[in-house]
């Protein structure tokens, strides 16, 4: 449905997007994961036709998106990173302005406004000025505007930045429901938890390049070490940790030690027996499944939050 083919975009000497290709199927919930400055927003800006790439093209159902081709953009619902609303106006006025630009009018417009207000659970605040809303409510109206014209594709550019957990969950549920209704969603984030929770398929972007893509399982399977052992950091374990240095690589974190075991301790049973022998009991030990953070670390040598 949405094809991104060999997109390259530079700003002066900085190559923001370097030969990026993605193929997103109809009905897919596709995640684009990467740290700040990786090129996520630039890619979204190129998809919506706000930026023109030097090379490559973006197409929807085989039709190229260009700056001039404004009609094709009606298939897209864009949820920007910013609260792109007229804050001094009411939620209703915002929806009416953007709805009329989407060619909606009269009863149809009123009906759609009521629908999306219901969806984002803000019907009772319709007549209030957006500037008086909480951060989470603003985000929900931001999302509602992009749904007014019933788009086929929803592009969400980090839609939960600065949002409280409750509103974040509400947004996740809305997007999940929309995806279930058949909407194709492209979701950018630098939170791996969001990507893991929402997306059926993912691409990891760094320095303007797609460095990996696939399902969550595909990406985790790229790792040699699919699990990590975490040992709680206490005064007791601190004394014992040097005794197990022969078991593998130990890295120290704020509240725990991370142990990546060598081949001799690949079996959990051997690991736990040895730790018991050294006096590190089970209550201090936790086995964690590898995450996208580990995948990113493995691919780039850096943390997502670096």
């Amino acid at each position: 449905m949405l094809k991104i083919k060999n997109i390259t975009k530079s700003f002066g000497s900085l190559t923001a997007l370097d030969n990026i290709s993605l193929d997103i199927e109809k009905g897919e919930f596709f995640g684009l994961l990467g740290p700040n400055g990786a090129g996520k927003t630039t890619l979204i800006n190129t998809i919506i036709g706000y930026l023109e790439p030097e090379l490559g093209n973006v197409s929807i159902d085989g039709e190229d998106i260009t700056i001039e081709n404004t009609q094709l953009r009606k298939k897209i619902g864009y949820v920007p990173q910013e609260i792109a609303l007229y804050l001094e106006l009411t939620a209703y006025q915002n929806l009416k302005i953007f709805g009329s630009i989407f060619d909606l009018k009269g009863n149809e417009l009123e009906k759609k406004i009521n629908e999306v207000m219901e969806l984002v659970q803000l019907t009772d605040r319709k007549k209030d000025k957006v500037k008086d809303f909480s951060g989470g409510m603003k985000r929900r109206i931001n999302l509602a505007v992009s749904l007014l014209h019933n788009p086929d594709i929803i592009l969400c550019d980090e839609p939960t930045v600065g949002v409280d957990p409750q509103s974040r969950n509400a947004i996740f549920e809305m997007l999940h429901d929309l995806n279930k209704e058949g909407k194709t969603i492209l979701y950018t984030t630098h939170y791996m938890e969001e990507a893991e929770r929402l997306c059926s398929r993912l691409a990891i972007i760094d320095n303007g390049k797609i460095i990996a893509q696939g399902t969550l399982v595909d990406l985790i399977n790229m790792l040699e070490q699919k699990e990590t052992i975490k040992i709680q950091k206490t005064a007791f374990t601190q004394d014992k940790i040097s005794a197990i240095s022969d078991m593998g690589i130990i890295s120290e974190h704020d509240f725990y030690y991370e142990l990546i075991v060598n081949d001799k301790y690949k079996q959990h049973s051997k690991t736990f027996i040895r730790l018991e022998e050294e006096g590190i009991h089970n209550e201090f030990v936790q086995v964690s499944r590898a995450t996208l953070e580990d995948v990113f670390l493995n691919l780039t040598g850096r943390s997502l939050r670096d």
């Binding site: 800006n45 919506i48 036709g49 706000y50 700056i67 001039e68 404004t70 009609q71 953009r73 009606k74 897209i76 864009y78 920007p80 990173q81 910013e82 609260i83 792109a84 609303l85 007229y86 804050l87 001094e88 106006l89 006025q93 302005i97 953007f98 009329s100 630009i101 989407f102 060619d103 505007v145």
Partner: protein, 441 residues
Amino acid sequence: MKNIYHLVIKDIIRFLNDKPAVILTFVVPMLLIIIFGNVFGGKGSGPRGKTNIILVNNSNSVVADLIESKLDTSKSLRMIKKYLPADSKDSVLFDEESAKEFVRGGKIMAAIVMPKDFFLDTSSALKFKFYYDPKNEIESAIVQGAMQQTIMTQIPKVMPIILKRKAINYIGSDSTARFYRDMTKTVTKYFGVDSDSFMSELTKVDSSSLFNSSADTSAEANFMGNIIQFDNEQLVGKEISNPGLTRSVGGWAMMFLLFSITGAATSLFEEKQEGTLKRLLCMSVSRADILWSKYIYSTMLGVFQLLVLFVFSWAFFDIDIFSNFFNLMIVIIVSAMAAVSFAMIITATTKTASQANGVSMLLILVMSALGGSWFPIQFMPEWMQTGSKATMTYWSVEAFLSVLWRNAPLSSVYTNIVVLLVFTLLLNAYSLVRFRNGRVF
């Protein structure tokens, strides 16, 4: 076209919801018009303020008394003759020294002194002393002008006496007496007037007769009395009830128009920063739609603002806007278009909202001062007057002045309209080029 319509509506809704913008666009200019309307006179305004001047009359002559009485009835000057010394409960008359002290101390702007030898029986000139503090040169010039005007109206009455005394001084009393006798004979012979009364009038050098009203009415007396005569006739603006405000309202309106329109156009930067511009662009809206909508909205706002200000001036200060309303509307529309083109070029050539605000503030103030919004350009040196023609403000202010003051037909402001349209076209063309390469989009 549909998008442009919706975007214009959007801008109007935003403007109406932005109370500070509404106040700055309409209320502040109205307040200034109220201030200027009252300064220059108009409906409901009280009597004009008078400027205080110390008058010291040390002369015993009737001419000095005559001038003093005239100064006492001046519409623009108030004669102060007494003051209250620090160590006294009673007011005392000013003398020359105390008057000078008051002027030096900044307590009063000027003092006029008619000294003892102001006009003696043998004087052939009036002797005034004028002391002033030129801290405000314009005010000082106005006061001097008003005083001179009052004094000059009395000069013709004294002039014959002065001339006769000068004649005696130059050719001697015998020759003067012979001249009067010969002249009386000739006039009596050919015009049949009474020789005694004519001779008496010719030889009179006593200024006390100036207060004798019967002397003024005789033809003989007026023979020398009316040697200076001004026939004043105001050819333009006679029927205008508030000339001062009529002259200045166009200039102030144009300055506020530039401020409000520039604010409206540079809101593109705010919309970019808020992300709404990008949101619109990723809908079915093109960049051209956004620019056109901004242009149309700003022009509408400008026309409406000017219209409101002129109607307000009409309602509260009797500025006649309806006798030449069609031509006034043409000038309003063309001025608004020119102001929008100025705002567009500011938006197209600057990089941020704060930069746009700074540059526009500077340019608007310079254009307003140079273009005649604040004061008539005739006050400026010639090179500045030439420079003022390079500002759109000048052409607009002159056009407003023509249609409001002279009731000028369209043909009289044709040049102004063409120049404003040329400004509009050139600035818009350059803005479009800059918008393609600029940072707004």
